[in-house]
Symmetry: C2
Subunit: 298 residues, 2 copies
């Protein structure tokens, strides 16, 4: 704590209702209330079976429909559901060695998905193939490939995980880490893309990520051959357009990356005045001298 005392919150109990939830106050406070020096972690069993698929979908709305279909069929066992636009895949194929397009034809949108089972089940893979087949007939899915080995699975994951690196190879970029209710993501993608292209008509939108969490990295790469610095000077205008739109969706302008220094002003602009005021009261109560990670978050 700021005054040097240690708050021991390491009890690994599943249930403990003894006063205020201090633990969750320190998690996510980014060091502005205290420094976390130890943690007790809950472990989960490793799934006995994992089925991984790279799927070409018609559009983001089809991806959301496919997610709902698979959640219902699997009993909520979908553990990965990552949206990838064609543009991101092209950047990866251009910049990252040992990558290749999983399909012969090009498609506008893809999903990398995984479904696991806690215990060994022979029927899981058949069920997923049947559901993908039904989604194909319904026009939601254009093509699909199931990983046939661990190496194959890693190849699929490489196409997703190297997107940030590939995007760096394309010059300047402006990035966002936003979330909305998953069912509203398709409409948000259309509207946010239009808002960005109003500002940068040749901007290349690379909106990818955790569709299953309603969370996308809504990034824009500079137009080809443009000046990176000139493009990045548009960042404040682009951020404002995307984050204003997010506010209208009751979404989050910082879904997983936190506030730090970069989003301090967004916090004041987009959180309610009541929420910011409560945060400041708590900060003053726990760190009255303001010595913990000063200048961050608040």
């Amino acid at each position: 704590l700021p005054d040097g005392r240690v708050l021991d919150g390491l009890k690994p109990l599943r249930k403990d209702n003894t006063g205020y939830d201090l633990r969750d106050l320190f998690i996510g406070a980014e060091g502005t209330l205290g420094i976390i020096t130890a943690a007790a972690c809950k472990l989960f069993s490793r799934p006995a079976v994992v089925v991984t698929a790279f799927v070409a979908v018609a559009d983001p709305a089809s991806a959301v429909a496919l997610l709902a279909r698979l959640r219902a069929a699997s009993g909520d066992a979908v553990s990965t559901f990552e949206l990838i636009p064609r543009l991101a895949l092209e950047m990866v194929l251009r910049h990252i060695p040992q990558t290749s397009d999983p399909f012969d034809a090009a498609h506008e949108w893809y999903v990398l998905m995984e479904i696991g089972a806690g215990r060994h089940e022979t029927g899981l893979r058949d069920m997923i193939e049947a559901e993908l087949g039904a989604a194909l007939e319904a026009g939601q899915v254009r093509d699909a490939a199931l990983a046939a080995s661990e190496a194959h699975r890693e190849m699929f994951w490489r196409l997703r995980e190297t997107i940030p690196e590939a995007q760096r190879g394309e010059g300047g970029s402006v990035k966002h880490d936003v979330s909305v209710t998953t069912s509203e993501l398709p409409r948000f993608i259309v509207e946010a893309s239009a808002a960005i292209l109003d500002i940068v008509p040749d901007g290349r939108i690379v909106a990818y990520g955790h569709l299953g969490d309603g969370n996308l990295h809504f990034n824009v790469s500079q137009p080809p051959n443009a000046n990176a610095a000139q493009f990045e000077a548009l960042a404040p205008a682009i951020n404002r357009a995307v984050h204003d739109l997010i506010a209208g969706y009751s979404g989050s302008f910082s879904a997983e990356h936190g506030i730090g220094r970069l989003k301090r002003e967004e916090l004041v602009r987009y959180k309610s005045a009541v929420a910011v005021d409560l945060m400041r009261s708590i900060k003053r109560a726990i760190d009255p001298k303001g010595i913990m990670n000063p200048g961050k978050v608040l």
Copy 2:
């Protein structure tokens, strides 16, 4: 809030990292920081299959071993694992109509368990029967009955859910709501029982509940034919013995029921001074006039 403002925390996002976690501060504060007037709830799919069993086990250590066995075999799908001592079952059979002993012979300890599956699986019931059979051979399980219908399942649940009512029929009682790490529960039961019987040699210990959560309702009913008021006058001494023991286990003296007025002094006695001091600082910061649910928790 105490000053009449409304904090809107209803965004139903799966990810939102924008400042301090105010929501979890109000949950569990028992109205001492503000009054919760609305909530957005996450819904889970109803399991497609549920297998319910009433199992006689050799002792609490065997129950913990059975839980570990079933967790591993089911892929962490055990959703109910309730410990019931013979004494509690006898009270239920004595006081609650339309109940009957699931087994011909008497056993010292029982478990009511449920395992669910998100999607329809034919193998779940067979797997559970096989695991119970193996546990029987290992001496952990003495007898087991699987619910054959929804009515049968409700009959098993009735044996568990009417324990509080049945205990009321036995006169005065002293109750505790404690949790420890699940693997330490068997040793805790032995030591806490001995500590209680030191104070009330004829006390009838009814330690039952959520073994799967490490959480038991460690209750004592008065000796038969004793005076209820005289027995309940021993409550402070019994509470002190049980809660002192819990502290040695790094457990919780209030696993699920909260603090209210009844456990305010326990909070100060058993939480660390640092934790209580932080709670008071937060209370002062958010409710400086002390008008929210005064006299509760702190």
